[in-house]
Each structure stands twice: as C-alpha cells, then as structure tokens.
C-alpha cells in the first residue's frame, strides 16, 4: 500500500513537467521562440564576454559607420558599437520585463486567490477597483504612474506591474470561484485545514496553468511597454543602453539616412516580444486544449 502511494506521487510530479517539455519540443515554432529568448538572456548575462566592445566606448574615428566586419550592426555618432550596446541593453530590458511580470503575478495572483475564495464584500470592492484600473489603457496608466512616482528604471517596473496586476487578479479570482466549489476543496475544509492553507497549498497551485500562460504573454507586453515609455523619454535615460532609448536616438538620425541606428534596436524589441508571444501561444495550446484553433 505504502509502496503504491510513493510510486504514484513520484510519477505525477516529474511526469507533468516532462510532458510539457516533450510537447513544447513538438511545437517547433514555440520551441524556436524559447531558444531565441534563452539565447538573448544568455547573451545579456554574459554581456561583458560576448559583446565585442564596451557599450560606452566611444571612437570618434569610427562615427556613424554602417554595418561592417568591424562593427556588425554599425556605430552611432560617437562611434559606439551598436551590437555591443544592444547586447548590454538586453540586461535592462529583460530584467525589467521579468521583474515587473513576476511582481504582478505574485501580487495579482495572491489578491485574486484571497478575494475569489472569500467572496462577499471584499470581492465586490476589489472587482470595482479592478474595473476602474482596467478602464485605463495599460500604456497610458503606466505613463501616469511613472510620471507620478518619478522618472527611474525601478519606477517604470513598478508602473508596469501595477498596470498588470488587475488582469492577474481577475484571472485568479475566476479560477478560485470555480475551484473552491470542487470536491477536493470540500475535503480539505472537512479535514479542518486552516483557510490560508486551503487557499495557498490546495487551490492556488491549480490556478497556475492559466497564470503561467498569461505571464508569458504579458512579459512580452511589459517589454513593449517599457521600450515605448523610454522611447518617449520616460524611464531609462540616455546614455544608458536600452532598446527604446536607442531607437529614439536612432530616430534623430533618420533624415540623414543612418537606418541601422533605429532599425536594429527596434528589431531587438520586436524579436523578443514576438518570442514571448509565441511561447505563450504554445503554452496555451499545451495547458488549455480548449483554446486550440480558436485564434
């Protein structure tokens, strides 16, 4: 009896994750997207080793050069190497996108679990606040919050998380309303588990699949929001390398034809956002078969 129990518990956990891994491999597009993100993240982490130049090393003799053997993605007006700057910029862009999403998932997920489980007036009030927050287009709200908190990288991350919290809250709450009526929830209550334990240990883990899908999709959106904010001059300030800032800097050279300055950082943003979206799509197909083919 005890042996069969231990077998079943040892099968169920790793099997789920390896199943995800296997299926992800069978979805070549999502798998490729995952590889792209891993590659960008690896380049960002090992930036000082991979980047051919220092991101802020100026070279007046090599100013405004188009892509060449020496500078694969060209140089800017100060002779800084674009490729190196883009690699270093990945650190800021990915870090903010991941951090903002992580904070938003944690806070939104927890709050959603609590209000969904408790229902009643806390739920009503929370949902009214969520409605009001969701009335703002996310980008516009992020603009306002960054302006309110002050112009810094951390504040951009906070602003992006605040705009994303309502979506996670609503999602987890919806799942919670359904899960709390399940038999195993009844069982957990009957055995006398404290409420926090039922919510955190028994029910919340089952809300995770849709949360993970949403988180992957919105990491891309967080990156896009941050790049747009810094493009219009909020958040990350030059001379720090960041993709949105670099695109904005490149925009001023457009009338003299230096296309590589706006194009490559812009493509870096697009590639990363695209990759996150494709991973999210693949995960959704995996974790929520009902959604297959409906997009």
């Amino acid at each position: 009896m005890s042996s069969s129990l231990s077998i079943s518990s040892s099968i169920s956990q790793p099997a789920a994750s390896s199943l995800v891994w296997q299926r992800l491999q069978r979805n070549p597009v999502s798998f490729a997207a995952l590889c792209v993100i891993v590659l960008i993240a690896a380049a960002a982490i090992s930036a000082p080793i991979v980047a051919p130049y220092a991101p802020d090393a100026t070279d007046p003799a090599a100013s405004l050069q188009p892509p060449s053997w020496h500078h694969a993605l060209g140089t800017d007006e100060f002779g800084r190497d674009q490729l190196s700057r883009i690699i270093f910029a990945a650190r800021v862009d990915l870090l903010v996108a991941f951090a903002a999403t992580f904070v938003a998932v944690s806070i939104g997920g927890l709050l959603g679990a609590v209000v969904g489980y408790s229902r009643g007036w806390t739920d009503t009030i929370a949902m009214r606040i969520v409605d009001a927050l969701m009335a703002f287009p996310a980008f516009v709200l992020a603009m306002g919050i960054t302006a309110g908190l002050g112009n810094s990288t951390t504040n951009v991350a906070i602003a992006i998380s605040i705009t994303q919290i309502p979506a996670y809250l609503r999602l987890t709450r919806g799942e919670m309303l359904r899960l709390r009526e399940m038999e195993y929830a009844d069982a957990a209550r009957t055995v006398g588990n404290p409420t926090w334990r039922i919510v955190l240990i028994h029910l919340l883990p089952n809300c995770l699949p849709p949360l993970i899908v949403q988180a992957t999709l919105s990491t891309g959106f967080a990156l896009l929001t941050m790049a747009s904010l810094s493009f219009i001059g909020l958040g990350i300030q030059p001379p720090q390398s960041e993709w949105g800032v670099m695109t904005a800097e490149g925009a001023s050279q457009i009338v003299t034809g230096e296309w590589w300055l706006f194009l490559f950082p812009g493509l870096a943003i697009m590639t990363s956002v695209l990759a996150f979206n494709l991973i999210g799509d693949g995960l959704r197909d995996l974790l929520d078969p009902r959604m297959r083919g409906l997009r």
Partner: protein, 338 residues
Amino acid sequence: MGFFNYVMRRFALALPTLFGVSVICFTLTYLLPGNPAMVKAGPFATPEHLAEMEHQMGLDRPFPEQYYRYVSGIFKGDLGESASTGRPVSQDFLQRLPATLELNLASLLIAIVIGLPLGVLSAVHRDTLIDHIGRVVGIMGVAMPSFLTGLLFVYVFFYMLNLAPSPLGRLGPGIEPPAHITGLYVIDSLLTGNWTTLRSSLNQLMLPAATLGLSAIAPVARMVRSTMLEILESDYIKAAWAAGLPRRTVIYRDALRNALIPVITISGIVFGFLMAGNAVVESVFSWPGIGNYAVTALLTKDSAPIQSFILFVAVTCVMVNLAVDIAYGLVDPRIRFS
C-alpha cells in the same frame, strides 16, 4: 421600455467605474511631483506667500475635500493650468483634440478596411495559405512596436522614395489650415473645396494613420475571424448549406452579415487601443494632438496636462464601451433581455 431600461442599467454600471477612474486619476495627481502652488506663486515667492497660495488653492485641505474640489472642477470644465503654455488645459485640449480625432478615425478606418476582409478570408479559408498569412500578420502586428513601424515608414517613404512629406505636423510648410468647421483638416478642406489643403493634409496624415492603423489590424482581423468561424459552425449556416444555397450566398449574405454586428464591439475596443497608441505615434510624427501634448508635458514635469490626458483617455474608453453596449443592444434585441 425594454430598451430604455437596458440603457439605464448600462449607465448605472458605468458610474462606479467612472468614480473609480476619477479617484485613480486624483491619486496620481496627488503623487505627481511639483507643487502647483509653487508654479502659480512663481520662483521668488516667500514661504508665507507660498503657504497663502496653498491655502487659496485648497492644497492644505484633507484628501476627500481636495478630491471633491477636483471633481467639481472637472464638471465645470476646469482641468487646471499648464505650467509650460500658461493657458488652461481645457483650452489647449480643445485646440489639439481634432488632430487626435482625425488621426484615430483615419487609423480605425484603415484597420477595419484591411482587418475585416482579412479576418473573413482567414475564417472562410481556414488553415490555408491566406489563414497562415493572416496569422503571421496578426502575430507581427502585436509584437511590432508602433514607433518602429512609424520610423520604417518615414525611412522608406520619406527618405528613400521621397513619396511622403517630412513627418512634421498636419500640413506641409506654407499651407494655411482650412476654415474651422469640424477641426478635422481633411473634412474641413473637403467641405470648403480647398483642394491644395486637402492634398497636403492627406499627405501628412497618410503615414501616421497607416502606422497607428497597422497596429490595430491584428485585433480586428482576429476578432472577425473567430466570430466568423463561430457563425460558420452555427445551425442556420448548416441549414443554408443543406438547402443547397450557393457558396457565395451562404458566406457573404448569411454569414458575413451576422459577423458584422461584432464589428461594433471591435470598433470600441480598437478605439481604446488607438487612444493608448496615439501618444507614441503622435510623438514620432510631431502630430499636434493631445497625445503629443501629454508626452511633452511629461518631459517638462507639467502635471495638469498629464492628468487631464489620462483622465480623458480613461473616460473616453468607458464612454465608448458604454456606447458600444448600447449600440449592441439596439441591433441585437437578445442582449437587452439577457
């Protein structure tokens, strides 16, 4: 009577949201750096004068009272004063609103004209080349930052091909704006028969509208596709097929006509989408609308225009959604009674 009740119920549902929106906007104002009293009193004000000014402006009052003043100010059309232009924000806003409206409407038109057929074709020819193309367009459209699209357009059509004018504002150099009727230059110049201005304003509008419109094609096409798929699976379409009606009739008369109803909803959602996107696109093309106004204000820490922009966008989105709900109830009686 049923319809009136429906409209009233929708209004009642929008009220708490509007209240929440106003509280959030006010809280942001409360947080915004920069003391409005200091701006008004000038840089050489003594501390006593400053305190006096704060008292006059009610800044020393408790939060709820200040909120009350803020909301009653909004109802009187008082949105505060811009520190950089020195004019009431409401005045600046009215002056810039037509530019934003013109850009957004043109973009909405582009998004629907391209997105609607794309969505229909993708659904009808499901899992064929056109569906895949539609999917790729959709995925790219979502991932592409609108400023990159805009800059690419400027580079290709202005710098390389010289087909578009320089991306600065609503009219070419030396062109007089048309007589003010609606404030939308394209429409006003059409109405007054001012062809030179019409050509110039269309030329200037072309690239920013295409940029903003492209970002909205994806959501339009996706929603039309899924609605169309749902309808093609429905019983009455199956009945139409079974009755032996020709393919064209079934798809374009029976299915498409019903798929058009959700276009109303889509337009509402897309409008909110465009309101969020216009700040970036307007600043790429130096388009003199409210988005650009807010971005400029952000960079100069001019708080009144920023909060007004945020409030305006949110209220517009709530109102558009309300209008969409009402229009929906009007065309689809089932909604009213559900």
